[in-house]
Amino acid sequence: METKHLFTLATVLCFFWNAEASAQGTATETIGMEINIEPAFSVETTADQAGGNIELGPLLPHGSATQTAHVIVYTNRGQPYRITQHLKQDFQNEFGAEFDPSGMLFSVSNGLHGGQSEVTDLTPVKNGPTVIFTSNRRGDADEFTITYAAKPKKLIPAGRYRAQIKIEGEIQ
């Protein structure tokens, strides 16, 4: 969107320059123009549910709940990259009780454009950074899905447990 606005501005400038020149006779002016597209690399995540958050539940005893998030990687760098996941804080409810992270599992799909999942089977979410996805060798933009599943092994105190999960990209 920003690019389109700047192109429009450039066209208008050219027009006024030539119009002024015509009024005095005939003259031409050459304008040199350069478009410099800088390297870009960004990761965007959206969840299926409204609000963009991952909502798991209601989680009944002996039950489980799943939810998916979509990750889109925009890049023009042409370098391989990898995506990591990081549980920023433990799941905690409004009364301070914690949800055992070993009961919070996730898996990752392969990318639509050749990237590979590093977590194909359901695995517990870890506190430290975990590599979950690797791009193809050209480092193409890609998109993939993360499936989150809450499967507690024990009865969990009632409440709403919240944590932040950070998804980050890293050029290799």
Binding site: F7, M33, E34, I35, F41, V43, L56, I165, E168
Partner: protein
């Protein structure tokens, strides 16, 4: 010559997702058999019937903190003729975390269960993190005792076992 440069760049490589897990309140007490029969081999006052060992599956994740008296209670729809129903709480097996709350017998030995609500077990305090959770099996032995010499026949009543969270 005029120069005109247009630069486009984007460098944002992280995204934080907020993840919520909703665990609703749960409260249940169940037993495998819907009914049981106690049999007398004699009709003389003071005779005890056969016994029935029940195991009640208890689950709750929002018990009140601290001790909850009469957490598990029993009540007959109406008393038996010439017979009293008795219960002995034989123990509680916690199958959850060691930090969960537990149940303990409200009295030792056999006590009478009548048409009034009668306490079988109290909730005892667990660790602060998990005192609201009960997850286990409560073992109760049922028997009947003749309060008078009895005539031949059978009687049937409804027995209600209740788990309350104390909130």
């Amino acid at each position: 010559m005029l120069g005109f440069a247009l630069a486009v760049g984007l460098e944002s490589n992280g995204w934080a997702l907020v993840c919520d897990i909703d665990v609703p309140p749960t409260l249940s007490i169940e037993e495998a058999n819907a009914s049981f029969t106690l049999t007398f081999t004699d009709f003389i006052q003071g005779t005890h019937s056969s016994t029935y060992g029940a195991r009640y599956r208890v689950e709750c994740n929002h018990m009140a903190s601290g001790i909850v008296s009469e957490a598990v209670s029993a009540q007959l729809s109406e008393t038996f003729e010439s017979t009293k129903l008795e219960a002995s709480v034989d123990g509680y097996e916690n199958v959850g975390e060691a930090t969960y709350a537990t149940l303990a017998a409200a009295y030792s030995g056999f006590g009478e269960a009548s048409s009034q609500s009668t306490s079988l077990a109290d909730k005892h305090t667990g660790s602060p993190c998990c005192d609201t959770c009960l997850d286990g099996w409560l073992a109760v032995t049922w028997r009947a005792t003749l309060t008078k010499d009895a005539v031949e026949g059978s009687q049937s009543r409804t027995l209600t076992i209740t788990l309350r969270d104390g909130n």
